[in-house]
């Protein structure tokens, strides 16, 4: 029985308790009180041992996970010296790089939009000059029969072209405003970076705790059970998650306006 208790796992606890309880009842019925007390002691110890063994598993698992994690970090430090590209194995760094990249790209797009808007302004200016020429055609129309109707037709074209310029201008403004997505994604990424930094520091604290437990229990860290893959997954599962829409969040600008007007705005 003692040996059984020493290696007791959580899964076997109920069976063992049942078995011991039945034995206890029989022993008491037989009047063997001394043995009954012994059994109660064993029951106590079984409870203890299960906790103890589970903490041992936890510590061992944690230790392995942290070892895998720190070897990731070590790899990064080593490679940083050799190649700039592999230096970005650190997820936080990579995410910061995404923000940097999208920001740069947004500005480049906006540079082009600005340049295009200048071109649109120039078209507008040309349109003005065109108007002057058109007036001249209007004056000549009366004198030259061949020009009959040309003024009206040219006017139509000019009006269409002015509309096109206006449309172009508003489309360019839309492109400009759509760059705001960089701000939104950037904010989301920053949140994930914060989360990862927290996970990292919590992990270090856990490692410290695990080391203490190790000293107290004397559990061998070398005997890590199979299934390291699963532990790796546990570490790598900290990927970014899309923030689900919170229940209390309003949907769009109309909702905001409605809420504000209900507040007397």
């Amino acid at each position: 029985m003692k040996k059984k208790i020493a290696t007791l796992e959580y899964d076997g606890l109920e069976d063992l308790l049942g078995q011991m309880a039945r034995e206890l009842v029989t022993t008491i019925e037989e009047g063997n009180l001394a043995h009954a007390m012994e059994l109660i002691n064993d029951l106590q110890e079984a409870r203890h041992q299960v906790f103890y063994n589970e903490v041992g598993h936890l510590t061992r698992g944690l230790h392995e996970a942290i070892k895998a994690f720190s070897s990731d970090i070590d790899e990064k430090i080593l490679s940083e010296e050799s190649a700039a590209q592999t230096a970005m194995t650190d997820a936080s760094e990579r995410l910061s790089y995404v923000i940097e990249l999208t920001e740069k790209n947004s500005h480049e797009t906006m540079d082009r939009v600005d340049r295009s808007l200048t071109l649109v302004d120039r078209l507008d200016g040309q349109s003005e000059r065109f108007r002057d020429l058109l007036l001249l055609v209007g004056q000549l129309e009366g004198e030259f029969k061949a020009l009959d109707g040309v003024y009206d037709r040219t006017c139509t074209v000019k009006n269409e072209s002015e509309k096109t310029i206006e449309e172009l201008r508003s489309t360019l403004t839309e492109i400009l405003v759509s760059q705001s997505v960089q701000d939104i994604t950037g904010q989301l990424i920053r949140r994930v970076i914060t989360l990862m930094t927290q996970v990292e520091s919590q992990l270090v604290k856990l490692m410290d705790m695990a080391a203490k437990v190790e000293r107290l229990t004397g559990i061998e860290m070398g005997q890590a059970p199979e299934g390291d893959e699963a532990k790796d997954d546990a570490i790598r599962a900290q990927g970014p998650q899309l923030k689900k829409k919170e229940a209390s969040a309003v949907g769009n600008q109309d909702d905001v306006d409605e809420l504000l007007s209900s507040l007397g705005f």
């Binding site: 920001e103 947004s106 500005h107 906006m110 600005d114 508003s170 403004t173 839309e174 400009l176 405003v177 759509s178 760059q179 705001s180 997505v181 960089q182 701000d183 939104i184 950037g186 904010q187 919170e246 209390s248 969040a249 309003v250 949907g251 769009n252 600008q253 905001v256 809420l259 504000l260 507040l263 705005f265």
Partner: protein
Amino acid sequence: MPGGLCLVKKDIRILVVDDFSTMRRIIKNLLRDLGFTNVEEADDGKTALPILKQGRIEFLITDWNMPGMTGIDLLKTVRADPELSHIPVLMVTAEAKREQIIAAAQAGVNGYVIKPFTAVVLKEKIEKIFERIT
């Protein structure tokens, strides 16, 4: 251009506060479209305050979520300062929780635009604020 903005002096000094330069630039360009060219920038509440305290800013547009000092704290500080409390404040932010909008309203915000926004919405809110103060 709608009537509301025609009455507003175009040379008023506007401060745009956002930690993302992309967003500052977008707002600045939209303001330029509306005829406002006198625009200053700051990247959070902390850098905005010294500019505000110089005393020439007449309109403040701010984000909410910024490192250092947030937009809501900036709004509260502005409202608590007798020198600055008169400045109209428009909040342009991705924060869209009811409680946040209510908190901003209680802190004395003049308008609230959620990101992502359209040029039309931003212009409309700016016009509305100027309509009220003129």
